[in-house]
Symmetry: C2
Subunit: 350 residues, 2 copies
DNA sequence: GAAAAATGCTTAAACGTTTAACTATTTTGA
DNA sequence: TCAAAATAGTTAAACGTTTAAGCATTTTTC
């Protein structure tokens, strides 16, 4: 009589069948133990767990997916520009999603798309191949992308962005509050001529930050008619901040404080100020937004509105998971609170 | 008589069975057509392809993987520090792997590990769960990680790093050549007191760059005994470059050119020079290494050694794939050529 | 003390592919 | 002319799980 014995080398993985044999139970029992389903006696459970440990068993993802019709993957979409962005903003958000995905035993598939995505362009493969259970879109993306994605009936959560058309679940920062905090801080420090500098003005987040700025000025009965507002719709970059500051100072000389729409812009503004012999914060105070921690050699350290980036990623994954589970279409929105980090770039002039 | 008809909604995916029914062939035939195997007549092939198109069929990855015992995934490991790094160096390499992986119909799973990984720490999940067919490790990682990974018999390719112990396949830049190019450029421009500034000196790539620097000096019969070499083993950062430049200039006043071990370091050096009223390139020329294209507002633009980052990622994936296919253990090494990009930060003093 | 309910485990089908082995037909070769 | 070879397709097992349904036991209920 010939018995075929499967030799388990270190390279091969033990299967549920091996565990069942080892524990002398059926494979169904093993499955029930592994998934904490069904009614299994303490005794049997122990036997099975022991066998699992002995054989170093791990369930096969492929097999699980095949039967559960879930992939266990989450797609993360980012424009290439944002991914390669100098300041680690979206990369930190990604790290947050990675972190939370691990906790719920999922994988995050990262895909970048062109910032100039237009109708008909190829979507990330994981969508057409249905290799994800849900999608996270971080940062501003073209409407065409949103439209293309929504044709596939896959749950989507947006982070730090909300498409203008349609109603989607998203996780955003409290931009209005941030704008208020930043501007109030400057007002409380005696500043009266406070400028706003920013790009991507069509981005809802930036609009909100500007709204916070204006609201704070109004409340303080300061001039808020916008003559100190220097905006455009270009990418929020250092270069952009530099150029905007230049324009601003060529028009207005008596500015004592600047609220920049984000840190990158603020760094550009600071560079302009340094190059033109305005001392920070003695001559001009600068406030940013985002709080991108990095080796940027910024002097003085920037007062800014801290955005909890990791947390945003975590929240997005949690939100997405409930959507995947319930296939609930209600567009829940999560607003993450912000806080002001006062550092060396602002100063009281009272 | 009751016929159960599977209704294909837009949400459900057509399976190979649906295609087979539509084309009135067996599912094996469909599989053979899809995979270009076997002997199938033109006629049948056409029928099948038509049905595939009509039903918008895409093979299920889960099912494929289950039977092929391959995951179709590639793991990409990076230290958290490198991932969040200001200059988009490793992120660009990642993009290269993503690009090539797409071409060979694979997915890249990104995982970050702590820079202080030590024996016993958890490896990225995709390893223990065997959710990848091969692994790419980018940048310098602790030896403990290399050791832990190699216990799993999974193909590994290193990018921009080569573990000291063991013999692994890798893709590296021609660092020696780069060091030579950079230093020769300065020598040809009449510089005699050329300093080398860099961190991570235990990193083989940096050692090679330094070797290139020394070799070039020797060839030109210039002093190469190392008194103008300022190195440490800390992370290559702006801050590091700034501090090193400071130390250097406190000791030596007549330096006219600096070769920095990478661009980040060079930016730090430039910042120090600016802060201390050394004009670039009039007083001091600066050369970097890497060529990280980004919105960094660097003035003047940095002369540097260009490293083809995307290409490195591409090469690594190709190398990894041949290893996966052949399970060939020979540690192939690929050296990517570099070129000097002359920009505004260097000047002839002849 | 018998019917009903609870407990503990097993059987077997299903998920969607790939592929070795097989069958049936047509073509080739001497 | 007929065996051998080539061609074109099919059958069925296998991959490793999950889970509904089923089947013995044992316990509860009245």
């Amino acid at each position: 009589m010939l018995i075929s014995v499967k030799r388990l080398t270190e390279i091969m993985c033990a299967t549920i069948k091996d565990v069942a044999e080892e524990a002398k139970v059926s494979i169904a029992t093993v499955s029930l133990v592994v998934n904490n389903h069904g009614r299994i006696s303490q005794e049997t459970r122990k036997k099975v767990l022991k066998a699992i440990k002995k054989l170093n068993y791990l369930p096969s993802r492929s097999a699980r997916r095949l039967v559960s019709r879930k992939t266990g993957n989450i797609g993360f979409i980012l424009t290439e520009e944002h991914f390669l962005h100098t300041e680690p903003f979206y990369t930190r958000i990604f790290l947050g999603t990675e972190f939370e995905a691990r906790a719920i035993d999922h994988y995050v598939l990262l895909a970048t798309i062109s910032s100039s995505y237009k109708k008909g362009d190829a979507l990330p493969r994981f969508i057409s191949e249905r290799n994800v259970d849900g999608i996270i879109v971080a940062g501003k993306v073209p409407d065409a992308l949103t439209e293309s994605i929504s044709r596939y009936k896959i749950p989507v959560v947006f982070i730090d962005f909300s498409p203008v058309i349609g109603d989607y679940p998203n996780v955003i920062t409290d931009n209005l509050k941030g704008g208020l905090l930043a501007t109030d801080h400057l007002i409380q420090n005696g500043h009266k001529n406070i400028a706003f500098v920013g790009g991507e003005i069509s981005h809802p987040s930036i609009t909100e930050r500007l709204r916070g700025y204006k609201l704070a000025l109004e409340r303080a009965h300061l001039n808020s008619d916008g003559e100190l507002v220097m905006t455009n719709d270009e990418f929020l970059s250092r270069q952009n901040g530099y150029n905007s500051a230049k324009k601003l100072f060529e028009l207005q000389k008596n500015i004592t404080a600047i609220f920049a729409a984000n840190d990158a812009t603020a760094f550009g503004v600071m560079q302009y100020l340094k190059d033109n012999n305005h001392k920070i914060p003695d001559d001009v105070s600068v406030v940013g937004f985002d709080d991108v921690e990095a080796d940027l050699l910024i002097d003085p350290p920037l007062t800014t509105v801290k955005v909890p980036k990791l947390e945003m990623g975590i929240e997005a994954v949690q939100l997405l998971l409930t959507m995947i589970k319930s296939s609930n279409g209600t567009a829940k929105k999560i607003v993450i609170p912000v806080e002001l980090k006062v550092r060396g770039s602002t100063k009281s002039i009272n």
